[in-house]
Symmetry: C2
Subunit: 243 residues, 2 copies
């Protein structure tokens, strides 16, 4: 049975969630809306919803093949992804291979500084508080995740890094950093959730060192629509050549 | 030989550091200056320097007796403390027994929420950056401390909590939270450094629940001088009765 949208559950900054007739499955609908700096900056990126659904679907499928359990079930349409219904853990895991963005400002770290092993950061998922940086202690004390969940989240995030860095490198992009979200199903099992797109990661072109991600929107660099489309095309070619 | 002040090394917000004729010893001179909110708020607290030197000296001596290694050598005068010359580790360790201050705002935590075990937080010691919150990952990646130093710092901080909570309780005060700094000597050995005073901790009166610390200054509650003096007197009585 192909699931179709029932009631709207929640509208986020870049996606709308809908229930389906199956209580364990929901639909993520990808919008073109773009926000930055905790939604202080708003706009749209042409076809972003469609592109992000395509990128996320192909990357989640690839991650699944590499043994990483995600909420992805299948791509339903251009802008719709069927996913497992999860209780989202309010902790964003950020993996940084190089310094960029908020980190540079926050700690006066030089942009581009390389991290090996990758730097792991945690943020508390709260629009009202501006997604503040947190540490392991906060996560455990406030019971946002258990120690077991947290270690699984970190391990999975580092594995995602290991799996995706070579993919991006093959298509001429360096994976600078990325944000992941996780959720638990009714049985408490933890899955990678949300999305993996140019909205939530930094990709620098290996030739030009130009950003090919949401930094083009954040910093008004122009060519935003084109960058998203370019990343999507390169990924599509990469995966098609390997099917 | 009693050391005397030679050259001024550095003037901080509440202390001035002087060299001595011994290259391994320096003098901390305690000022009456008080600052809050990263020095946006400035003032003086009557006799604070004298009181803080007295409080810190007696607490450091007590901690030493309990097996905690501090930079304290001896109190030289009303406002002067002779200490080991250390390279200060740029990480402040904050131990919280209850939620108060920046934590409540940052993460929307209810004031007074109790933590058992204590919550450990780390801040990067940088006036220019406003002492930002950091996590273990930052400390290790940016080599602000080694893993061994960090674990010693946390262990020592928790032991300080264990040792001082009952002392404050005996004198009618609840130790809500406190900040510690550490430094390494020429051989790389780590010592508790800086000070332990009402400037860097929160103490709530067990009877009235009133703050008896720098929050009186931060929040313009009045009775600032009196609170500092009262804490000092109660501590003095406590230690005198036990000598």
């Amino acid at each position: 049975m192909t699931q179709t949208r029932q009631d709207q559950i929640r509208e986020g900054k870049s996606k709308i969630l809908f229930s389906t007739k199956d209580p364990n499955q929901i639909i993520q609908y990808f919008k073109d809306d773009a926000t930055a700096f905790n939604a202080l900056k708003k706009g749209t990126i042409k076809n972003k919803g469609l592109i992000n659904n395509r990128i996320s679907s192909s990357l989640f499928q690839y991650l699944e093949r590499k043994g990483i359990q995600t909420h992805f079930i299948k791509q339903l349409s251009e802008r719709e992804m069927l996913v497992k219904k999860l209780e989202i853990i309010p902790v964003e895991v950020v993996i940084r291979n190089r310094a960029a963005g908020s980190l540079c400002k926050r700690l006066a770290i030089e942009k581009g500084m390389s991290f090996d092993p990758a730097l792991v950061e945690y943020f508390y998922k709260s629009d009202a508080l501006g997604d503040p940086l947190i540490s392991e202690g906060h996560i455990l004390h406030f019971r946002w995740a258990t120690a077991k969940e947290l270690s699984l989240m970190v391990e999975t995030s580092l594995k995602v890094n290991e799996v995706l860095r070579p993919v991006f490198k093959e298509i001429g992009l360096e994976l600078i950093d990325f944000k992941l979200e996780f959720g638990r199903d009714a049985e408490g099992k933890v899955f990678l959730a949300d999305e993996f797109t140019a909205d939530g990661c930094r990709l620098w072109d290996l030739q030009t060192q130009e950003p090919m991600d949401k930094d083009r929107f954040r910093q008004d660099l122009g060519g935003v629509d084109e960058a998203y489309l370019e990343v999507s095309k390169r990924l599509q070619n990469y995966f098609e050549a390997r099917l």
